[in-house]
Amino acid sequence: MNIAVCIKQVPDSDKVTIDRETNRLNRAGVPSVINPFDENALELGLQLKDKYGGKVTVITMGPPQAEEALRECVSVGADEVILVTDRKFAGSDTWATSYTLSLAVQKAGDFDVVLFGKQAIDGDTAQVGPGVAYFMDIPVITYVKEAEKTDTGFKVKRVTEEGYQLWEVDGKAAFTVVKEANTMRLPSLKGKMRAKSATIITWGADDLGAEDAKIGLKGSPTIVKKVFSPPIKTNRETIQNEDPKQSVKELLGKLKERKLI
């Protein structure tokens, strides 16, 4: 089975803050990690390979330092890794990212399945997977927890608000993968060695034959007008007593006042 996994390197969201004066992101010194959901996508890809044989190709679009994330993928078992990077891609929103990645995936090979994380934790948009699938003209199933091969394609379990759905797909497909699917395996010693020496294939806009009008800022319909810190609650009331009965009484009093109960 020929498997592609799209991963994104993201700032560790725990550590990102905003400068309250300038409303800019404080990114300096923030460590980067593989987007947690993309670890689940990669693990699903590796499991499919373990079961059916084949090859796992990992593709990321990002700045040159995203190479680190790709090496981590090699350490757990990715066979080939591709970095899509170009100044021209700067400022891409999900539309432009979907377009660019779809070109890269198609250039990288003829895949039976293309896997994505459920969403990237920097933007939490969950839009790139379906976007790429449309550009590639393959069906997409979101929120996938389990996937297995069938004679004609795949059978997958999709998580919904209410429970699970079982879907059947013919031919090639794209899936976005949820956390519950699995936990990424740890790198082996051999894997770590391989990661150090692995070749990172690097492509820019020209290698992909990308149309200028569809990439980067120009290819992005949405713009960020402003960013700001969420308002902090300043009027918090604290209840603290020796006697829990008293605390609960006060609490209920305040809730009644506000007509919450």
Binding site: G129, G163, V169, P221, K225, V227, S247
Partner: protein, 331 residues
């Protein structure tokens, strides 16, 4: 009034309109008043007879209704084709979808099909009457930051909108509206995926994402058995039970209950956090709740930073006491 339109994607499952749709229509009423645009709904179903009136009652003046056997449930290829064709034909200014498992899958496909911008999971919408643009505000970086997004040069402007953020506003029982039947031609769409079966989990009497009250437990609960104390309170309040990841990882409760960045995003009227420290990843999933009560024995716990009322104390004392005082109150 201009002949421009705001569309709400009317999500139905088994013929029942989702709560998120009704909330969106209600917010749509406000946007329509500000912009002068006409509020419309787009409905895809196998049978619209029981649904149309409800959409009018929540403010839709016009419902574009596509009816066909292939449209009984959400299938991405069929749904995206029907809605995208309609967008290209009618050119609405704004299209809004609930940020549900359906909306968040369908909208991104449509966005690339019609070359529109899409803002995910908005928690606030407004309309700038000077520039005549939709202002779409959403949390990013796990809620550390809010961002307001614009889509100046592409139409329609599209967003998915988080359920439970906007309040439902039913105008009446017999509101008038017009239904426009949409011709469905799916002959050119490949039949390449199908739903085989659906399993609904009876996890809870109340669904987390749609609950008005949530009682949520963290590591402070102490053991799986102790979750019963929270369940008792939940029962009394008609609430759903939530959990932090620490308790899910420990196997105390199913992942289905997890609230946070890697769990569910919830927005109840009241969120009661019991023995939860308030890690940023947890806050990401519950910060936009209307009213937050935190019960924690550590007065320094982060959860108090987002709380409206903080109760410092042992949850094993407070929670059962709360349950019994509420019981007494009801009598």
């Amino acid at each position: 009034m201009s002949n421009k339109e705001i569309w709400i994607f009317a999500e139905q499952r088994e013929g029942v309109i989702s709560l998120a749709t009704l909330e969106l229509l209600s917010e749509g009423q406000i946007l329509a008043a500000k912009s002068g645009y006409t509020l419309c709904a787009v409905l895809l179903s196998a049978d619209d007879s029981k649904i149309l009136q409800e959409l009018y009652n929540y403010g839709a003046k016009k419902v574009y209704s596509a009816v066909g056997p292939k449209l009984s449930y959400y299938q991405n290829d069929y749904y995206s084709k029907v809605v995208a064709d309609l967008i290209i034909e009618k050119k609405p200014e704004i299209v809004l979808y609930g940020a549900t498992s359906v909306g968040r899958s369908l909208a991104p496909t449509i966005a690339v099909m019609v070359n529109a911008g899409l803002t995910a999971d908005c928690t606030e919408l407004d309309f700038d009457t000077e520039q005549m643009l939709l202002l779409q505000t959403r949390p990013a970086f796990g809620g550390n930051i809010m961002a307001t997004i614009l889509c100046p040069n592409h139409r329609p402007q599209m967003s998915t909108v988080r359920p439970n953020v906007f309040k439902k506003n039913k105008l009446g029982d017999k509101e008038k509206g017009e239904s426009v039947s949409v011709k469905v031609d799916l002959s050119k769409v490949k039949d390449r995926m199908r739903l085989l079966e659906e399993t609904k989990e009876e996890v809870d009497a109340v669904d987390l994402c749609e609950a008005e009250f949530i009682v949520s437990g963290g590591r402070g609960v102490g053991s799986p058995e102790k979750f019963i104390v929270l369940q008792d309170l939940a029962k009394e309040l008609g609430a759903a039970v939530g959990a932090s990841r620490a308790t899910v990882d420990a196997g105390w409760i199913a992942h289905f209950h997890q609230v946070g960045q890697t769990g569910k995003t919830v927005c109840p009227k009241v969120y009661i956090a019991c023995g939860i420290s308030g890690a940023i990843q947890h806050l990401a999933g519950m910060q936009s709740s209307d009213f937050i009560i935190a019960i924690n024995k550590d007065p320094q716990a982060n959860i108090f930073d987002v709380a409206d009322i903080g109760v410092v104390g042992d949850l094993h004392d407070i929670v059962p006491e709360l349950t019994s005082q509420i019981k007494a109150l009801k009598k």
